[in-house]
Structures are given as C-alpha cells and as structure tokens.
C-alpha cells in the first residue's frame, strides 16, 4: 500500500509531534475557511484510512472557529487505481460516501501524505463517477515532493523535502492506535 504503512526499521527521525500536527491542521482549517466563503458547500472527503480521520479533525477545527458543520465523506481509491495487478498486494476496496448531488459543491480531497500524486488522480476519477462537483481542492498533512503527475495541493500541513528512498510514516491515534506522530525513516 502506501509508503507510510511500512513497518519501522532503522532510524526514524521525528518530524511532527501531536501538538505540531494539531497546529498545522488548525492552520489548514483557517485557510479552507478563507478560500471558501460558502462553507456549507464544502465537503471534506478523506482517502481511507488516515485521510478520513484527518478530514474529521479539520471539520472539527472549522466548527470550533466558524460554528459551521462542514460535511465529510470518504473516497475509495482502490478500485480506481491504474496499477491493479502490478502490485504484490491487491488494495482493499471500501465503500465511498459522498453527499449527493455533487453539483455546486466543493470537494476537498484529504490525505495524509502527498507523494507521486497517483492516489489523488484516482480520487478525482472516483469523485467524477458520482457527478460533476463545482471544484475539487486538495488538502494534505505532509507534502513530500516527487510528483509523477501535474497535481499540486491547495492546503499543506507541512512541506517535507525527502529523498526517494526515504519513508514518511504518519501515525494517528484513531487509525493506528499509537500517539499522533510523523516520522521520516532514512534509507
């Protein structure tokens, strides 16, 4: 699956602790509010499993700040990947959940780490099969570079320059049962 799901081996450098993650997601929430005057039209759609949790957290920050409940959703990308059969493990497919109709809505795709951009490409394909949203934006906790597609994030928790062989590990309490942390494992 994703780079972030690999087991720890060798030295992992701590990049963000729980407080830093909290701070950057709160900032992302502020930026989303600034960029989207019609917050009631916004849907924060997470890519399973950490993207879903991050979307929920951003939605809670937006509620704290603006007292508005932003809708959340889930986008399955597994069945939209273009590399089925070329990987050793078949991705587990999950049900997508998006409020319908998508027309007039702004879908903000939320994921933990942005790397090649292929997952986001698959997410956009998945969204388009539900309808035609007014716009799609992208929010990520970590942008580690090395894009293979012309995709850029609209909201970034932290830019983290990495080398190709390094692994970014994101751990979240709710999805991993470990304290919130971002680590960089050197190659």
């Amino acid at each position: 699956m994703k780079q972030t799901k690999q087991k720890t081996s060798g030295a992992a450098v701590p990049i963000m602790d729980a407080e830093a993650i909290r701070g950057s997601l709160r900032r992302v929430a502020h930026e989303i509010i600034e960029r989207n005057p019609q917050l009631t039209h916004v849907v924060l759609a997470g890519i399973p499993s950490r993207g879903v949790e991050i979307a929920e957290r951003i939605a809670r920050f937006i509620h704290e700040i603006e007292k508005i409940n932003v809708e959340t959703g889930v986008i399955d990308v597994a069945m939209h990947r273009d590399d089925v059969g070329t990987r050793s493990e078949l991705p587990i497919v999950r049900e997508s959940k998006l409020p319908l109709p998508l027309e007039e809505r702004t879908i903000i795709v939320v994921d933990d780490v942005l790397y090649t951009g292929r997952t986001v490409r698959a997410a956009m394909d998945a969204i388009n099969s539900f309808g035609r949203p007014a716009r799609i934006q992208l929010a990520v906790l970590i942008d580690r570079g090395h894009r293979e597609l012309p995709i850029r994030p609209d909201y970034v928790g932290k830019n983290l320059p990495t080398a190709g062989g390094e692994k970014v590990q994101v751990r979240l309490e709710q999805t991993d049962g470990e304290p919130d942390e971002v680590r960089l494992e050197k190659s």
Partner: protein
C-alpha cells in the same frame, strides 16, 4: 481487516475459510455502491479480457457476470456451447488453451460436469471462476445469497436457514450449505426423501420432509427451482403432488415468522415451488438477490482477476 485474498480461482465455497467468505462479502459492499453512482463503472480491470464460457445454457448468470465485468471495465467475450468448437469434437482443454492463446485473463465457466472448472484452473495461468459445474458447486450464487441474508439481517451466525426442493441435484444447495455452515448458520434441508437423501446429514445439516414443521422456525427460506423440464418422474410423482407437500403456497406463507426472508435463485416457477403472492410479497428478497449478484460477482472478478495478473 487483516485477511488478504490470495486465490486466482473461485471454484467452490467448500475450500474457502469463513474469513475469506466474509472478505468477499465486504468487498462486494464497496462494489454494490458503484451501482448507485451516476457513472456505474470503475477502471479496476481495464485492459483485461474475460471469457464467459457457458457450455451449459444460462441467461441470468451469464448476463450478471457480463455486466459485472463491464462495470469493472474488462472486455468480455461470450462463448456458448452451441457456437463453440466443443460441438465439433474439440476437448475442453484445447478450447481453453486456444482462448488463453488470445490472452484472456479470466474464464467464467459453466459446465455440466462437476470438476470442470478445477480441471481448467489446474492447467491455465488465467483465473477460473466456477459459474456452476454439474451438481457440484455454484459459488457466486451462494455468495449472493449469503450477502443478501447478511444485508437484511446484519449477521448470519445463529440464523436458521431452510433450503427447500431439489437438493440432490442442486449445486446451489451445496454451495449454500458450505457457506452457511462456515458462517455459523443452522441449516435444514426440506424436500421429498428421494431429493433430500440422509447422506446430507454428514455435512452437518438437519433434514426434514415436512415443510409445515420447518416454516414457523425459519429465519430464511431458500426455495430451489423444481427443474420440471427434466421431468424427474422417478423422484416425485408429479408437480401437483410436489405443490401439495412442498410448494410455498400463500396459505403456507402464513406460517412464516414476520421477518422471515424468502429467497429463490431464479428463474421462479410461479405456482410450483412458490405462489405469485409470496414471490411478490413482503418476505421476498428475490430481486435483491439479483442486484446483489452483480456486486458479489464484481467483487469476485476484482479479487481473482487482480491476483492472476
């Protein structure tokens, strides 16, 4: 979910674990939702070729597999017994090898002989999906039955399922028995002793020849089609006799629990194994089965087809 799918073929439910069955059903949940989207198609099997190889005639299973494959963006070829070279004396193996030489990735096989899918699976690199082999197994039918029960009742363990009718020759019954028992259901087979022999007890099911005693206790009644076109005169005296003892008439339906599910793999013989009022009534989930069949077959093609590459 820690289970991983590792099989290139789906030949029967007998060899699957409860975890594997649940994994297919969970995967089907995700694919069921694709049918409600504006664009009911995903690119999962884009570039793959599926051969619907139906040596025995079938319309609904073949159509369901075909639509499932199309919704996964696979290319589909349909080959039936009458147009295949099998009628010219070519062996099953040679026909399949010729198809594999065309780079087919998935074979969906319906065949009159038990074990034919296993035979092909052992010889081909491609995935083989059993769409019914003789009186052996029909795994996707049983999976869609399990899916429908789970969808309506949330859990299969602890439910009492009655399977009624021509059990002896039924691959649907066999696959259902394996699947239901693995998932913890209690199974009672109901029918005349000629069609429900005692040997089945060895599988771990109960047997009854009195439907009126079973109906009030059942959470699910799965009615199998009486294959009267085959006129099994040696097994029961006639249709009238069968209806009198085993048909789910509207009078008998009054014995059912309020939340009992009535299932049927189709095509139904209205007025034979089931009355029209019951087939179209509140208990009936027969059309849900058809819809769910598509999702389950998408899941099976995705899992097996994704592995074989």
């Amino acid at each position: 979910m820690t289970t991983r799918w590792t099989r290139k073929d789906l030949l029967g439910l007998r060899e699957l674990s409860a975890d594997e069955i649940n994994f297919i059903l969970d995967t089907a949940d995700a694919f069921k939702q694709v049918g409600t989207r504006e664009i009911k198609k995903v690119p999962s099997l884009r570039g793959k070729t599926l051969v619907n190889f139906f040596v025995e005639p079938s319309t609904r299973t073949r159509t369901s597999f075909e639509l499932a494959a199309l919704r996964l963006s696979a290319d589909v070829i349909n080959i039936s017994a009458t147009i295949s070279s099998l009628t010219k004396g070519e062996t099953l193996k040679d026909t399949a090898r010729n198809l594999e030489a065309l780079h087919a990735d998935i074979f969906v096989l319906r065949h009159g002989s038990a074990g034919a899918p296993q035979f092909l699976a052992n010889r081909l690199k491609a995935s083989v999906i059993n769409a019914g082999d003789g009186a052996h197994e029909h795994p996707t039918q049983a999976l869609l039955d399990l899916y429908t029960i789970r969808e309506k009742r949330r859990q299969i363990a602890g439910l009492h399922v009655a399977i009624v009718g021509d059990i002896l020759f039924s691959r649907v019954a066999r696959s259902n028995i394996f699947g239901l028992l693995k998932l913890g259901a209690r199974v009672t087979l109901v029918g005349p002793s000629t069609l429900v022999p005692r040997e089945f007890e060895k599988l771990g099911v109960e047997i009854s020849h009195k439907i009126d005693e079973v109906l009030p206790k059942a959470d699910v009644v799965n009615l199998l089609r009486i294959q009267h076109e085959r006129q099994r005169r040696e097994y029961f005296p006639g249709i009238g006799e069968y209806i009198r003892f085993f048909g789910l008439t509207k009078e008998r339906a009054k014995l059912l629990k309020a939340d009992c599910l009535i299932m049927h793999p189709g095509p139904i013989n209205r007025g034979v194994e089931i009355d029209s009022e019951v087939a179209d009534g509140l208990h009936s989930v027969i059309l849900n089965q058809v819809t769910n069949g598509l999702a389950v077959r998408m899941a099976v093609l995705y899992l097996c087809g994704g592995i074989s590459a």
